[in-house]
């Protein structure tokens, strides 16, 4: 069957009323958490995992993907109106968007962000549909050593290649990898790093770690900043509609943002925020009005907003076809698949095509829902920003602990939540990135499994990792991704890398 037939079949799954409902709940929640500071799509999916345990797998995954897409839309609202990015992929949007809002052009800024997200989401989702079968064909040739090499590459790009310090990125990664070895070793049944505590035998739950690191760590960090810089919400003045000139200046950045964002998301290179920085830089260079940059240039909103949605779709390519998460949200979505006993990868496309193609098709529908939710209903979302901070964070912690208690109502689990929350606060305080910890925890045990399998086949010969051309290439790329940024930073050219720091979601 060709991609079109599969996509149509997926659409027939996605338009079932119950799945439409899941998608609607997902995009609504996603927009809300995108708008709210301090809670992003990664946290939300982590919070919902235990709650959705008893629901239908296809529906829940459709909802999770809706949250991811919705978060990308909602984040722009906070950036533009509050100058505080709702999530990390919208940091760049704040640069020009907030200036536009201050100049009374908040409406067109929100419109170009939403329409740009729609255009990018649409194109990138279709690109996902066409690219996925091709990658699957390629991935069928992958053995344990290729998977191991791929995961090593993901480790390096997520932790060390971008950001302001390879040392801190790698430290975060290794904290995650250390947490990953806790529990019973699947091959020999021996308990590792468990110290005789029965609660640790099953290992650290990805959801507990993610909720603690993101929701609790962030809350503690915000609380510790005290009352600095009072935040003011810029009211949306004037028309929401873009003038003909705005359209003329926006459509090219949308397309360029998509072209930049999608491959960056699809490569094992980290989250959606990296593409936004490249897109901003490109627009600044290509603009006919470079003097407007820094004072509210519409291209600086249109491009990065398209790029972050395209990246979100791109991230789903390695996740669905290889089972390889390249962002914190994708890592938690992987935990979502595993919760239902599903392992994303080439086999899922043949064993469960209904689910995979239903999920991809539902993204197209979610995208349509989002533009409706975000343009006419923008006033509703702005109201969310006026919730006083004490009630907002009290509510976030209520739901953060609800998920953990629901998954495992034990005092020990709550203790881990507190401990990891404090760890998350400490990491933020010293500018350690958070995403590598989560990716290390979920990908570490998988990488170990693949390595041991590869070495069992070769009877312990380590050279086998380098004799396959694919795995040798991937390992060489990983080495380059580790060494080149180190040299760049040592020669004082680190600002570029620091600017594209991959942080939260």
């Amino acid at each position: 069957m060709d991609t079109f037939a599969l996509l149509l079949q997926g659409l027939s799954v996605a338009i079932q009323p119950i799945n439409l409902l899941y998608a609607l709940v997902g995009v609504t929640l996603g927009t809300a958490v995108g708008v709210l500071p301090g809670i992003g799509p990664a946290t939300t999916v982590a919070l919902l995992l235990p709650v959705t345990y008893k629901l239908d797998p296809a529906g829940s995954l459709i909802m999770f993907a809706g949250i991811y897409y919705g978060g990308m839309y909602g984040g722009s609202t906070t950036s533009i109106l509050l100058n505080t990015p709702g999530e990390s992929a919208s940091i760049v949007t704040a640069l020009e968007g907030n200036k536009m809002a201050k100049a009374g052009r908040g409406g067109p800024a929100l419109a170009t962000a939403a329409i740009g997200s729609f255009v990018a989401g649409l194109i990138a989702t279709i690109a996902l549909a066409f690219l996925a079968p091709w990658v699957v064909k390629f991935a069928l040739a992958f053995g344990p050593r290729e998977y191991f090499a791929l995961m090593v590459l993901a480790f390096v790009t997520v932790s060390a290649a971008f950001g302001d310090s390879a040392l801190r990125g790698l430290t975060s990664l290794f904290i995650g990898l250390t947490l990953g070895i806790i529990g019973i070793d699947l091959q020999t049944g021996q308990a590792r790093l468990s110290f005789g505590i029965p609660d640790l035998l099953d290992g650290v739950e990805v959801t507990t770690l993610a909720v603690a690191m993101f929701a609790i760590g962030e809350t503690l960090f915000v609380a510790a900043q005290g009352k600095r810089a009072p935040e003011t919400v810029e009211p949306v003045r004037g028309s929401l509609w873009m003038s003909a000139k705005d359209w003329a200046r926006s459509w090219k950045p949308w397309l360029r943002g998509t072209v930049i964002g999608f491959p960056i998301g699809a490569m094992p290179a980290g989250g959606a925020e990296i593409g936004t920085f490249f897109s901003y830089a490109a627009e600044k260079k290509l603009s006919k009005h470079p003097e407007e940059f820094g004072h509210g240039a519409i291209e600086g909103v249109a491009g990065p907003e398209a790029a972050n949605n395209a990246s979100a779709a791109g991230t789903l390519v390695p996740l669905l076809t290889l089972g390889l998460p390249t962002s914190a949200t994708a890592a938690i979505m992987l935990a979502g698949f595993q919760q239902y006993g599903l392992q994303p990868g080439p086999l899922l496309f043949t064993s469960n095509p209904q689910l995979v193609w239903g999920l991809i098709a539902s993204l197209l529908i979610a995208n349509l829902m989002l533009i409706v939710l975000n343009l006419p209903l923008i006033g509703l979302w702005v109201k969310l920003l006026t919730i006083p901070k004490p009630w907002l964070y009290a509510g976030i912690l209520l739901f953060a602990t609800l998920g953990t208690i629901g998954a495992n109502p034990s005092v020990f689990e709550l203790g881990m939540l507190l401990a990891f929350g404090l760890l998350g606060y400490g990491l933020r305080l010293f500018h350690f990135p958070i995403a590598p910890v989560v990716v290390g925890l979920i990908l570490g045990p998988m990488a170990e499994q693949q390595l041991r399998r590869a070495l069992a086949i070769s009877q312990g010969d380590v050279l086998v990792l380098f004799t396959s051309p694919i795995s040798a290439t991937l390992l060489a790329l990983a080495a380059l991704a580790l060494i080149v940024p180190l040299i760049l930073r040592a020669r004082g050219k680190g600002q570029v890398l620091a600017a594209v720091a991959a942080d939260n979601d």
Binding site: T171, D185, T188, P390, V411, L422, H431, G460
Partner: protein, 181 residues
């Protein structure tokens, strides 16, 4: 002329917080290595067993600890902002209160305490009011998730009251078809 002095002084003194981090990483490396040393190999000819990866991680952690020490002396760590600790203590206290209460008082009361103390930490709010609203919101959340979505959430006095009230209200509707037969 004081400034260059201070600068030089600062340069000579290592970044103590970073040294503490390095010590923590080293301790973690030793812990992982010690734990790995107790593990048996996975069979006679497996050259890679359950202890291999932990040893590799321990070596990397130790390497990162050394790297962090170098960074501490070179002041590579970014400056930290002044931290406001009382709010943090309120929130941590809230999490501990929830942990202590959840077994005995149930979800609503325990989470109500967390809610109130978090709100108090984030700004000036009336503690009794926050506690009352926290318990009421948590009870509502408990009802939705435990009764309607069948999540296992610990029940205490307020939850039992809620369940009984719910049964009392719905009893006539449930009894109706039964009495007809």
């Amino acid at each position: 002329m004081i400034e260059p002095m201070a600068q030089a002084n600062k340069q000579r003194r290592p970044d103590w917080a970073a040294l503490v981090i390095a010590a923590g990483l080293m301790a973690l490396a030793l812990l992982v290595a010690w734990d790995a040393s107790r593990l048996g190999a996975g069979g006679a000819y497996a050259r890679i067993g359950p202890q291999t990866i932990p040893y590799a991680i321990a070596i990397c952690l130790a390497g990162l600890a050394v790297w962090t020490i170098i960074a501490a002396y070179r002041h590579d760590f970014p400056e930290r902002d002044q931290q406001d600790f009382p709010p943090v203590l309120w929130i941590v206290g809230g999490l501990i209160a929830q942990m202590a209460l959840i077994r005995y008082a149930g979800f609503s009361i325990a989470t109500g305490f967390l809610f109130a103390m978090t709100a108090r930490g984030m700004g000036k709010v009336s503690l009794p009011l926050a506690l009352l609203s926290g318990i009421l919101i948590s009870a509502f959340v408990w009802f939705v998730f435990a009764r309607l979505l069948q999540l296992t959430l610990p029940a205490g006095p307020p939850e039992h009251l809620l369940t009984q009230g719910y049964e009392l209200i719905t009893a006539p509707f449930k009894a109706a078809p039964g009495s007809a037969t």
